[in-house]
Amino acid sequence: MNLTQFAKERYAEAAVRARPAGNRIRQRWTEFLVEGMIQLSGVSTIVIVALIFLFLLREGLPTFLDIPLRQLFGGRWYPIEGLYGLWPLIVGSLIVTVGAVVIAVPRGLTTAIYLGEIAPPWQREILKPLIEVLAGIPSIVLGFLGWVALAPIVQSLGAPTGLTALTGSLILAYMALPTIISISEDALYAVPKEYRDGALAIGATQWQTIWRVVLPAARSGLAMAIMLGIGRAIGETMAVMMVTGNAAFVPELGLDMPLSPVRTMTATIAAEMGEVAQGSQHYSVLFGIGIVLFVITFAINMLAGRLVGVTVRRKGGSV
């Protein structure tokens, strides 16, 4: 028992002695109540997630049983003719998301490094709230901006239309940026000051310190930031639906892939959910898309967990 603990216990004893018995009982009661409430809200989150997953499975599983897999992963999505090929939708979501990650991750990390390591305090104080404002812009507003302002610019790059995967990626990148920046900045902040001091003391430049010491130390946090950014991007619906053109086809492999229109899984669910009769095949296929989306997101999270776990072990268990 160390000294602080000892002092705390003496203080608690004194506090209890100073109060009448009724108070003590009430205190125990409130304690019990608060504890119960916290427990309930914690457990309910898990229960709700489990229920959502069960619901998805119940509504969507018939898809994978009723429709031959060859058709399901075939190339054509045209539900009013019973063509349920998910492949173009999966490819569409991947192109848009990968594009967003390629744009957002370098920018997000460099911004975080600048904010956390290089910028003088007065700049930080201006920039941080501004980045949080970016996080507060509703996605539909960004989508509208993309539709009105960004699409013509993308078209002038030589695309046949301005409504392309690239337009979607750009919008999503800006949507994911605040998440990536603030979480990676927190990760950098968590690196002990002694690391930097030590590096600088043995003669490293500031750049060497950041690149060789601070970034590796913050690696798990940075990976988390990137994964959460990807999560934000792959699940986004409205803005993407407005700017990607929603053409369900698989563009030819090549560098100009981002310049072709695509249809994402989320946009398909959003655009078609309202039209389907409950219990129809189309309805269950839309839930099937939900399952695919869930599995992909889950895989990304697992992967993130793995990456983080590996770095932690290598560093000897301290993050």
Partner: protein
């Protein structure tokens, strides 16, 4: 949580008319005797939504105690809502299809269709596009990508960008049946996968007005000055005709169609009164005012 968007055309347009005396209106379209306030839920076709709104507004003068809520979303959406029991009248820019009839009967609903107006479907391109007329077979080839370059139909050497409504739109289904399949029930052609699917009428007009290589289609009432309307011929031997109220009414324009209101069973009470009024002279005058063709002239 994201809901489907129907920006502009479908922007959840609500017309609520509350009876002055009764405090609250029953949300079901019940026609129990004695109640003074009734609500009618009306949802569906984005083509019909502006007319439906105008009707609902004008009907306030006729029957102040009837509240009518009008929403867009597409014909398929409206019919699905009727089947799911959340609306009283579905608006549709196409016939209710056999699958939907079967689904409705399965939930104990016998859908009844009323043709309430005629619409001409305009095919539109950018003003800088030199093409100003096409035949239906040419359009079918364009939308199935048997023709992919404007030079094959008399335009510049440039790729054709196809623009369409989403497949839940009645306009989409009408175009599929009458243009892509040329009205042949055995033809199983479908839109090319590269077709851009727009969630609203405004999506189509805005893309066509800023993309010189785009081609799209929309109800005549939705086309603005920003787009060029093409003259359409049934085939090589037929005359090219521009869409208008007159050419749609006399049948010379090939892409004219009925717009419907669909009820669950024979309409009763306030719903029957409302539909009678729509089909009467007052309701049909509004149809003509908004650029559609009244029933009875066509």
């Amino acid at each position: 949580m994201q809901r489907r968007s129907r920006w502009a055309g479908g922007l959840l347009a609500l017309v609520l008319v509350w009876a002055a005396l009764s405090g609250c209106a029953s949300s079901a379209a019940g026609d129990e005797p004695g109640t003074t306030a009734r609500a009618i839920q009306n949802k569906g076709s984005d083509t019909l939504v502006n007319v439906a709104l105008a009707w609902a507004e004008a009907y306030r003068e006729v029957a102040p105690d009837v509240a009518i809520a009008v929403t867009g979303g597409g014909s398929g959406t409206g019919i699905a809502s009727l089947i799911n029991g959340t609306v009283d009248i579905a608006n549709a820019s196409r016939d209710i299809n056999p699958d939907e009839i079967a689904a409705a009967r399965a939930s104990g609903i016998e859908p009844v269709e009323f043709a309430v107006a005629i619409d001409a479907l305009a095919v539109i391109v950018h003003h800088d596009n030199p093409v100003d007329r096409l035949t239906l077979p040419q359009l079918a080839d364009i939308y199935t990508r048997r023709i992919t370059n404007w030079k094959d139909v008399g335009g510049h050497d440039a790729p054709i960008v196809l623009v369409s409504r989403e497949s839940n739109s009645g306009t989409h289904v009408y175009f599929l049946e009458e243009v892509v399949r040329l009205g042949d029930p055995d033809n199983r052609d479908i839109f090319a996968a590269q077709t851009l699917m727009m969630p609203s009428s405004v999506g189509i007009t805005s893309e066509v007005s800023r993309n010189v290589n785009a081609i799209g289609y929309d109800g005549l009432g939705y086309v603005t000055e920003e787009e060029k309307i093409l003259a359409i011929a049934r085939d090589d031997a037929s005359p090219y005709v521009l869409p208008s109220i007159e050419t749609a009414a006399d049948g010379s324009y090939p892409l004219a169609r009925f717009l419907y209101m669909i009820t669950a069973g024979e309409p009763q009470g306030v719903i029957a009164d409302y539909i009678d009024w729509i089909l009467g002279p007052e309701g049909q005058a509004i149809v003509a005012d908004l650029g559609f063709v009244p029933i009875g002239e066509g």
